[in-house]
Amino acid sequence: MSEKLTGAQIVLKALKDQGVGHIFGYPGGAVLPIYDEIFQQEDVEHILVRHEQGATHAAEGYARSTGKCGVVLVTSGPGATNAVTGLTDALMDSIPMVCITGQVATHLIGNDAFQEADTVGITRPCTKHNYLVKSVDDLARIIHEAFHVATSGRPGPVVIDIPKDIQFALGKYVKPETVRHKTYQPQIKGDMEAIKQAVDLIAGAKKPLFYTGGGVINSGPKASQLLREFVKLTGFPITSTLMGLGSYPSADAQWLGMLGMHGTYEANLAMHDCDVMINIGARFDDRITGLLEKFAPNSKKIHIDIDPSSINKNVMVDVGIVGDVAHVLEDMLRVYKSRSSEPDKAAMKKWWAEIEGWRARKCLAYTPDKKSIKPQYAVERLYELTKGKDTYITTEVGQHQMWAAQYYRFEDPNRWMTSGGLGTMGYGIPAAVGVQVAHPKSLVIDIAGEASVQMTMQELSTAVQYRLPIKIFILNNEYMGMVRQWQELLHGGRYSSSYSEALPDFVKLAEAYGATGIRAESPDELDDAIKKMIATDGPVIFDCIVTKDENCFPMIPSGAAHNEMLLADDQGLDVEVSDAGKAMV
């Protein structure tokens, strides 16, 4: 007979049995019994953050860089509400996360008790699933179920709300193996008929394009491997969303760069003109499609996605395949290889010639400057000086994020952590903390903006406490640059509240936290300063003073089509944007 454990003991035992090595959290009255158990064991290490939002992003960084589930522990009321941004972020970007929240004692629920919040009510729309634990005998099962739901199918965040009395109550523990969910069973294998249809389309394509997304990375390293094999075998060009960077090596000649609003000219025009689009684990987000009516108008579309609701949501496709990317690609490759016919060589030659023409436009070229550091140059130098090292990149949100996506180059999956779907400023520092916890010896860099970092700067204190040598590389343009750029484009240059007034001295700020501050103000000192940053054995804030009014190009203005994109050498930003376009975000 198994002995009885307290709810808090069950939590720790379940986490251990789920193979959890680290949790990110912040204590409070409603989770004290769990913290007491954490204190008395050594299997699960707790990382104390400085704000619960930080815990959620750290868990995301941890998850994205390892493929494992991120785990968060916060108290009731404000602890839970502070976690909402990170939960939503994880939902939008399909990141596996289990977030345990404390709740007031069962008999107090509904009485507006101190630090009571309707956590399951608040988090219902921003989680994949959530639970309020009503009996200690359900607790172990719920925790195991939560990990299963969070990590399988289309991954996402799951909240477990545990009232304090249940943390004290005695109950039975059950092992993970004994838990099988009644209803939740995502489809992993793709339908063979659909796969054959897709292969027929692929084999007959004259202007094909692979369009890949975060689903490839979520599916695991094997998916990236199979993707590479398939792309090589077909000789087709490939582009990816922001979320999918790294699943295909950017050094390869078939790689066209990222597509979408700030994607490359060649990727977007190839998307517009392709005749067969092979969407693998991407979701036709509006950042990618631009104006739907003009989106890849002459293409047959294949869509592989583990989430059936992603198929035909924004864009109607010709062949939808529900399944896990790696499983589907494996079948697809087999079917493709079993056919004797090769892709139409003459057509492919023509298609590549067209693409080379677009490439020759050199859409990422920018005017260098002797005096001031161009932000693009800063990212290029950062890339060159960290190339070949064991590097992970996180970002904040804004122009710097897009420059990072454009000018830093990724060869492998799980190396790039950015808030894609929600676009959460303040993501980068805590995400870097989470990545560094998972990879203590690696070089972890947050490519940041001076406005964004001030949203979660306090996590530098976490980094100092746990000796996590993260590097916060701020492209300091003294503007909420992306907001300024849109105001320039759409609002007559009226820079309403987008200037970063009263900035702290970031070097002194770093020092105040017990970290190292480095500043670079001119191009000629940049390389040495970056080298110094890399060599510093501890957390660093790098204050990179860049050109203030640089805009991020290429750009597809809202409401425009892929073939109407703006390039850096176009005459300024004075384009006509339709009213419908202006209404878009």
């Binding site: 399951v120 009510g121 219902r124 009503k134 059936p308 198929i311």
Partner: protein, 170 residues
């Protein structure tokens, strides 16, 4: 795109685990994603397995109807989603309680109509009736329409319950 697609009414049956919050999940899905709910009913239908059946009547384009089904299917406590309008030949019924107050000729006329519609009188006072009427939505709408000039006071409707014809279970 969707503007050119016709808009149709569908009745969707959803089998769910009867656990706390499951209805809120379904309703939240509809409101959060901007889908219409014309009618929604819910009750436990299988006590042993703690399952409830939710019947939703909704109006949308085919693309959105497919989205609704896929989104419902995605909810963790959902067992099955069946579009009764497309996947089956089904019967639908609704029950309404209709209160009519009046005297003289109107009162006689109301009673006469109720007989024609096979409504039952389940409460009566010298100046009022409460009718119970069962039928499909159109029939109930018609009956209520006829009661308006005869002194209609209030209506309480259950919303649509629906089931597929034939021996198979959902």
């Amino acid at each position: 795109m969707s503007e050119e697609q016709p808009i149709n009414t569908h009745t969707i049956a959803v089998l769910v685990d009867n656990e706390a919050g499951v209805l809120a999940r379904v309703i939240g899905l509809f409101s959060g994603r901007g889908y219409n709910i014309d009618s929604l009913t819910v009750a436990e239908v299988n006590e042993d397995e703690h399952m409830s059946r939710i019947t939703i009547v909704t109006t949308a384009t085919p693309q959105v109807i497919n989205q609704i089904k896929a989104q419902l299917q995605r909810l963790v406590p959902v067992h099955r989603v069946v579009d009764l309008t497309v996947e089956t030949d089904s019967v639908e019924r609704e029950l309404a309680l209709v209160k009519v107050a009046g005297k003289g000729n109107d009162r006689v006329e109301a009673l006469r109509m109720s007989e024609a519609f096979r409504a039952r009188v389940i409460d009566a006072t010298p100046e009022s009736f409460v009718f119970e009427i069962t039928g499909n939505t159109a029939k109930i709408d018609a009956f209520i329409g006829l009661m308006v000039p005869l002194g209609l006071q209030e209506v309480s409707r259950t919303g649509v319950a629906a089931i597929a014809r034939g021996p198979e279970r959902m």
